[in-house]
Symmetry: D3
Subunit: 321 residues, 6 copies
């Protein structure tokens, strides 16, 4: 402090200030509540009211912020320097005044993202549970249905659960039904695990989504998956949703519904780096549950994923402008 006004170049540079210092914002980017300052806005959505099993993702944004301070500014694998080509800001957390009412909370989220989109800010969200993707898509996909790249252990295209149409296992079936998402331009990668119904993810198949299960991913590799992504989503605007439970539980134990035998973090990072060129208009990283984390490894790997996501969205923004 006091040396000079904070500037993001400096904040993110450990040569100026070591990484363990300072307020923990996402990647030590400047915090602002003024949308005008941001081109890319990273927003915490500390809501886990849509969880069906183990909760805790309300603490996700803070944990990812903390671990993200371990990262630096340039992606050595691709050379991208996101903070140098766009104004990246930490916009703080979405206010949710009705945490006890799932649908009311979703409306609050949608309202905020409506403002963000209206201001021309590209939102990258850190959850929270996966149910938040639906209200975000209500803003992001309001004009016309978007494509989706979803990396996840579960399709999350379920039906009702416990009498609720809305929960963290069904954001994308609802999003298709609401005309926010184009299932033909949707790909779901890393699907695996046990279920209680043989047709739990029938909606994905019937609506034309491309399911790329974990076994196919392991057999054919991340390069194949990247090609499939590019083929499926095509040219229009695309949303990216990364559920941390896609990653193997040893590398991401801090999540509510782990499934054994997931994507290795290195494959996930390389897959993300291989889908540059897509017209990404928004993204989220969800289901980091710090109370179940071990040594911060989940939040740390989530931060590494978030950095790749940031690079993708920054590049897409650069292309558009």
């Amino acid at each position: 402090m006091l040396k000079s006004p904070s500037q993001y170049q400096e904040m993110a540079d450990p040569q100026v200030q070591p990484r363990y210092t300072g307020i923990a914002t996402f990647f030590r980017a400047p915090f602002t509540e003024d949308l005008v300052q941001a081109e890319i806005g990273i927003i915490g959505v500390p809501f886990d009211g849509g969880v069906t099993n183990r909760s805790g993702t309300r603490l996700g944004p803070r944990a990812v912020r903390d671990q993200s301070t371990l990262l630096r500014t340039i992606n050595t694998a691709t050379g991208i320097a996101p903070f140098a080509i766009a104004r990246v800001r930490d916009l703080g957390d979405c206010w949710i005044e009705k945490p006890f009412e799932l649908q009311a909370a979703h409306q609050e989220i949608s309202a905020l993202y409506g403002q963000v989109i209206a201001a021309g800010v590209i939102p990258i969200s850190v959850g929270g549970d996966h149910s938040i993707s639906l209200p975000i898509l209500r803003a992001v996909g309001a004009a016309h249905p978007v494509g989706l790249v979803q990396i996840d252990a579960h399709c999350d295209t379920g039906g009702d659960y416990m009498g609720s149409r809305f929960h963290h296992g069904a954001p994308f079936s609802r999003a298709v039904e609401e005309g926010l998402l184009d299932p033909k331009r949707t790909i779901q990668i890393g699907i695996r695990g046990t279920t209680n119904h043989p047709d739990l993810w029938r909606f994905s198949a019937e609506s034309g989504m491309r399911i790329l299960p974990m076994d196919e991913l392991q057999d054919k590799g991340w390069r194949f998956a990247a090609d499939e992504v590019l083929r499926v989503v095509g040219d229009g605007p695309v949303y990216l949703s990364f559920d941390i439970d896609a990653i193997d539980p040893a590398q991401a134990p801090g999540t509510g519904t782990p499934e054994a035998g997931g994507i290795s973090i290195i494959d996930a990072l390389r897959l993300l780096r291989a889908i540059r060129g897509i017209d990404f208009i928004g993204a989220d990283l969800v289901e980091v549950s710090p109370p179940f984390d071990v040594g911060g490894i989940t939040a740390f790997n989530a931060a590494a994923v978030l950095f790749e996501v940031l690079c993708l969205l920054t590049e897409a923004h650069q292309v558009r402008t």
Copy 2:
């Protein structure tokens, strides 16, 4: 298995079977869903939909069951052998089919406890968050308002929170308003910490509850507190509610809203042993949040508290029958 039919005497006796063996029920008591078999029924209520800060108590019942297997059958301080004087059963967990709807979930809880009370079973509940005390009291206090011994860091007699009248900070104000609880026969012990409103617990004072703050407890001791309990609750039926956040956070870190400087576990145990003779008709132990626990110490100390509670309720049952 296979040696002989399970009998609770044997299940709880490590001379027959070591304590690390077998299915983890509460105190290794027999599990049954048949209310006729039980005089005292220990019931898990894995619900944390009323939490205002950090969640996780939905996992409380399972963790307390696990640690409770470390205990044995006779209270050496008092000589009470609860399993020898009453049929104690683990009745499993309360089914909550609408976990996303706070009030609907409360109704489900009330319905179950209505059955339990109707069957003449004395319920000891393991939460879950403190909001469950209200629907339990709707059954336990249905006939006439009961007295209350509450050991807790917070009075939990708040007003609305985030637009909801029902949450884990307000069960007892609601219970008084609904005529379930007699505030004049209510004592709240261990209150401390910070608040956001100077009159957050005004309801307690204005309705005539006896607040015995942590400082007074430390100054005057647990024997004084026990005397106050006996004086306040008098002769009628009394409910006991033990919030684990009453205990010092070093001895009970696994809870959602810890407050520094709490009751030591030994004082809590001795306080409970010193209030024998009260006509207890039900009890709960709430707010154990395993995801925040460390080495199981919270659930272990909670199990020790639960054993004392069991002794109190068994004795009260014995007096009545």
Copy 3:
């Protein structure tokens, strides 16, 4: 509770009751001590008296039970729904009345499994240390020597240790000597690490067992290993023994004798899925040591393995009946 009599279909269905609720039995299957009710019996064997280094597996069954509640009922990779095609029961834990006497404890285990086999129940055991495989095989292999699929970091065909012929490093040499196991139909997968004797596992080689070391597995892949399994064990009855230390220590830290660089859990699961069709008549999962576990990851991955094992044995049972 109280909604209806427990039925395994319901217990294992989170749409009826969330997975964090209820008594923690294996996969939330019904607990019974009545062998008549079971076709497949999952049995805990909380014994670690045969351990040569770090103990703690006596707590294994309880931890695996707890983590197994995170799983559901249908194997999405294979479509198998084990609970729908066989009566799967949690039979509780094997009573061991002489925990201080290794051979006496082994006799108790053998006696129980004799009863289980006599009742026509297929046993799946959760240890406990690997020494328990011997007394189990004394029942399972009593009629004639069985084949063995062993997934493990160690061959466990050692000689005497500290003056004892029986310990967790030698069950299978003893089993061959006792005529319970056919070494020609035995395959050992994942072997690696350091030893103190160049010929520690000589028994394996000399008796004709197929050793498939970790390096060969990594080089040739799990599909090759599966083919080798099918080739080696052939058509007769086969026992399956899965030592969790086969898995890489980052995915299975909770074990007594870890060896760096193990099988990845995804390869292990796929290997198991690829050996369908074998006439499995019994299985065990051993060496889960919860005191050394981190965040429950070992027990969680063990539960995922156990589910695959359950599928294999359920299918084999279905074929036979």
Copy 4:
């Protein structure tokens, strides 16, 4: 975000925004680098270059920030509402550009605090190791020697260590020598443990400091200690230095040089509440080492201490203005 401009009243009020949300600043107070905005400035000093044993306190400020969000705004024991009576701000972390050079780093710290004092801001510092008290005192005590209330397991008035006059075991001997501290108005509370030299703390005794060892504190109680504090420091300006290793290691394991049998956190909090009225002009809380912490308990208790310290300094400020 976006609801309204941040205001500290709102930021710190969970009725407006739950405590688990938002950027983690100290007590969720507004972050600013503009000294004009602050009356009380809480400053992180992430420096542990003066540690003689186990390091890690460079991560202290961030951990205390995180846990401090669990607290609210009003001290229920005293009724003080610090955020309502003074502009409390999180001023971020002190920049230390030469972390490899102990004395150069100290000069950087002194320079910053010179600015803070010149701006009329009352500094509350969160370390970092105890060596930081010296450069802070070089600013705070520049005009004339101040009194000191030190709560600590060690006197920290040592001589040279490993050839260095400056380290975390000697700030106060150096401060006296430099004329910053009045030893006659200094009291050291909680001293205990083992040493390597019988006269390690001779400087304290010979310079006239009042040493109040742990045993005396336990025998005579915190009220006596508070009286001693008031007697020793008298009327002039006083600095408060709280080393978290004063607290018992079970309540504060996350520190570099723990000593068994320390002050209980409740006694520490009550002692602090009992020394109101002193003319405090600055304070620090040091030696929180998150890598050695368990479940965040050290940082949580440190936050509770920090809140009391904040109340003391806010009140003193109020008296002076």
Copy 5:
């Protein structure tokens, strides 16, 4: 290394070498297997074959060694400098070649201690489970029955367990029966918890031991307890046995059979300091189980206890010589 030959004065002095350096011996005392070099020998007994519940104490000696390096050389409370007045050595660990046979292992322990006693070395043992006290007493009490100061949550004067006369719950009943221990000169402090038999500790009472339960200790204080110790053991030779489960589980979670509400570590340390003058001829510290420890707090507090025990035995040795 290489600076000069190791000498214990230097090894234990962090001014010469920081405490985090070097091989972890007990208090960084020199390691030797040559009994002639030692007056006081600290010996690890890594045996937990007598445990009835949770094992793990075989790892106790190594963990206590590690944490003991945090201590220094002079007891500031008493001024005793044990390393300056006696040759204290780490004698390594007792060899136990028959870990699977309880009684054979006990014979090996007795044989070693016979040699130690014959060489005139005063043994301080670090377990290991409490069953080791019996074979140690067979050497220490061989000449005539000794007195006993036992600090423990359990009397450990039980009968048979699971068909074995020897286990960690019965060393002292066996020792009295074998004429090694004088029950009239025995005091047991800190007893509490649950039992399965009302007369589990009848042997203590009937043989004339003084049982000082936890409640009496809390009521009357450690000074009273110290007076009782001095009164009971009188003038003859006395053995000291400290079971770490005497300490409250929050301060000593790493033990196999914890009991809620134990002695605070500060009271334990002060009690030990208050019984100087007794003719101690041997001591043990048992039941530290590192796999259940949290952040090393149990081993750390055990090391602090061990230091006080070392002071007591060093002083007693000085008096005798």
Copy 6:
């Protein structure tokens, strides 16, 4: 103890003494400060004064010693038995008397290693941070520049940091500049992550070092990497430096500057086994930071790496003699 004089054959043989017993030296090799006794000397260098981010590696040697006791004596993959072909000794820790002065500490390290080299002992060092490689190379490379096999997430050939030419991110640029290292015979494997400067590792490229990034390693495999190593380093003397942060953070969380997506431990071990035949004359294993470790997995995997390193250096020694 006392059975017979310690001999390393026996110490490392669990058939004689279980692995959990005894003083924790590296691989339970004999501890000596007498250089004459050693051919291969394993030396701890507990220094982390060159760390730019999270510290803690000063505790690395002790943690690696502890976990190394889990290993045995023969490498089953290669058949090498290092303790049988060379006198391997634990030489204790390097004394660093000026821990507060980076360059002075480095001089102390260089001085020690000068003695070690002069005595003809091959040093294997366990750090400590990576800055220690420079002062070690000042001894090892004193005669003429050596080749280097570096396995690491970072090139560590940086420029100044915070005004210091010497830190853990720059040992090898300094070593080249000082003529200790031949950059043409240097290969750096596993490089990845983010940076703050596009040309942070320019020194590596410009000086002619072979950088083999993580992505290339994953694409081409460890066998290719091994071939590259052999090709690059050629025939002369070579130093091996293994930074544990090369390994994936799930398998090595205990390090100060983790980078997501690292080398799997099995690939690392096999890579090491595949570079036999090189004329290794020294090696180090650095950056193990136990305070950030989880369940000891980092130190355990580090011990496995250290064992392979020991095999390589023992074989090279055998070839030379």
